[in-house]
Symmetry: C2
């Protein structure tokens, strides 16, 4: 086996691509906003190796907050943690690289969007990721929103052009089950896709025939998401105080999901990731006023 | 054994007193605000028995949000849950009653305050509770704040006048350890007291000699807290935009604690409590803008 994350290895190819993706994502957000610019902060992992780059855009005209986090870390899972990770039971060493994106637009008429792709290596390797969209209006008004239709349509198209990896019925259902606020009995948003442990091993959640097949799918996901940015983050128009209040309430639900339920957030905090980078998904402002 | 929560039982005495405490707490907040009034909502538990009353004050001149939650519920813990609860291993039936309070003042110069007392019965019984104060200013400025000194002094006095139950060095340390944001390596607030499993059984965390001793201590805690309301929630003065921004950031940390770490919140959500009542501790508005 090539050393995890070393030159020409699967890990190194994923890391290089994801770092470039982070730059392209930042560029797409800056174009959509028109004025605001990202600030960049590099961080190193205190234990193990590696680190990442947190990119944050705040207070734009169109975008109130956007975060683009790239990371590539290596280390050794704690015994308790390793037992829950595929292929880490006997040998807890791992390499993980990924890019994670969130955008909270200023206008309550524009949806919050999120995307994440990741590649993990233990004694096995696999891809995971997803993308979902969350309108900031009362749930009863989500049906037939053009941004939701556009977003879901783009992801459906992605799945259908990557037949060996993508599976729209399964991944969209997985999204609804993953982004689930069990304490409220409702989904976080209006859907998208979610998938995990996509690999060539028989025990994988999603069995693919080759590394290239999985890599092509996650790279395609980034491209499709970038295409959605310019298309969806425009035309926010004028809005009422009531629409703003509802937006802040919906953002409150977003916070509830990320802190109460999101496994990615817990994974990050439990493996000594950068706290501010992990929590940069939280909205710029949220309210609980009912 | 008297049926749990029945007339003249320990449970019934605690429930009656806590319900009256909830009314007195609401009255004290309304007096401190001067204009705003509480709205009341009763809820029933879908499984098991009992319910509670959620009282919420929003948008006052002094108080931006205050919540006073009374509950008295009976039921049966799930097997997995029961194993973590004293005296519930063999027989999962329980009765629990308590009152929980939070206040988020409008002025960034006034602290957020929280208090909770509870009485639980399984095959054993015990009291638990606590109170803590959280300034909304940068941590470096917390030392020597008169509201913090007043609050801590009042709780210290309470412990010292209830020698058989209260223990200031231990309970104030317990508070700092309980309200601990492990992911940031910092306490939630500037201290107070916390205690749990205060009972007559030998295995109790806090061994007391009689039910009356514990009951007197928790009733005293409510009284001391009520005394702090009028004393601390005044003189908020004028404040700058910068002070408001810092307040919203500190409230963000409050949200992080309550959703990531608070065992009370998880207990409530896992035992089918009223979601809006449980999450009414969350601030009216919070921000994550760094």
């Amino acid at each position: 086996m090539t050393e995890k994350g070393e030159k020409n290895s699967f890990g190194e190819r994923a890391r290089t691509r994801f770092f470039g993706d982070a730059d392209r994502l930042c560029g797409a957000f800056e174009s959509a906003d028109g004025t605001a610019r990202f600030g960049y902060r590099e961080w190193r992992r205190s234990e193990g190796g590696g680190g990442g780059r947190a990119a944050l855009l705040l207070g734009g005209e169109v975008i109130e907050k956007a975060a683009v986090n790239f990371s590539a870390v290596r280390g050794c899972f704690s015994e308790e943690f390793a037992s829950r990770i595929p292929g880490a039971g006997g040998d807890g060493r791992f390499f993980a690289t990924g890019v994670s994106v969130i955008v909270h637009p200023r206008s309550p008429r524009l949806p919050t969007m999120h995307m994440n792709v990741r590649f993990l290596e233990t004694t096995r390797w696999w891809f995971g990721g997803g993308a979902d969209i969350t309108p900031m209006r009362p749930r009863g008004e989500w049906g037939g929103m053009s941004s939701v239709d556009y977003f879901r349509g783009a992801l459906r198209g992605l799945c259908e052009t990557h037949e060996g990896a993508g599976d729209w019925p399964r991944f969209s259902d997985w999204c609804d089950r993953y982004f689930w606020l069990s304490h409220r009995g409702e989904t976080r948003g209006a859907g998208g896709i979610f998938f995990d442990v996509m690999g060539v091993d028989e025990g994988s959640e999603v069995v693919i025939s080759s590394w290239e097949g999985g890599f092509g799918f996650v790279c395609g996901l980034v491209d499709v998401f970038i295409g959605c940015i310019g298309e969806i983050l425009c035309g926010g128009g004028e809005w009422s105080e009531e629409e703003r209040a509802e937006q802040l309430r919906r953002r409150g639900r977003y916070v509830e999901f990320n802190l109460l339920h999101d496994r990615g957030t817990r994974f990050g905090l439990e493996t000594g990731g950068d706290v501010d980078a992990i929590l940069s998904s939280l909205p710029p402002t949220a309210s609980w006023d009912t």
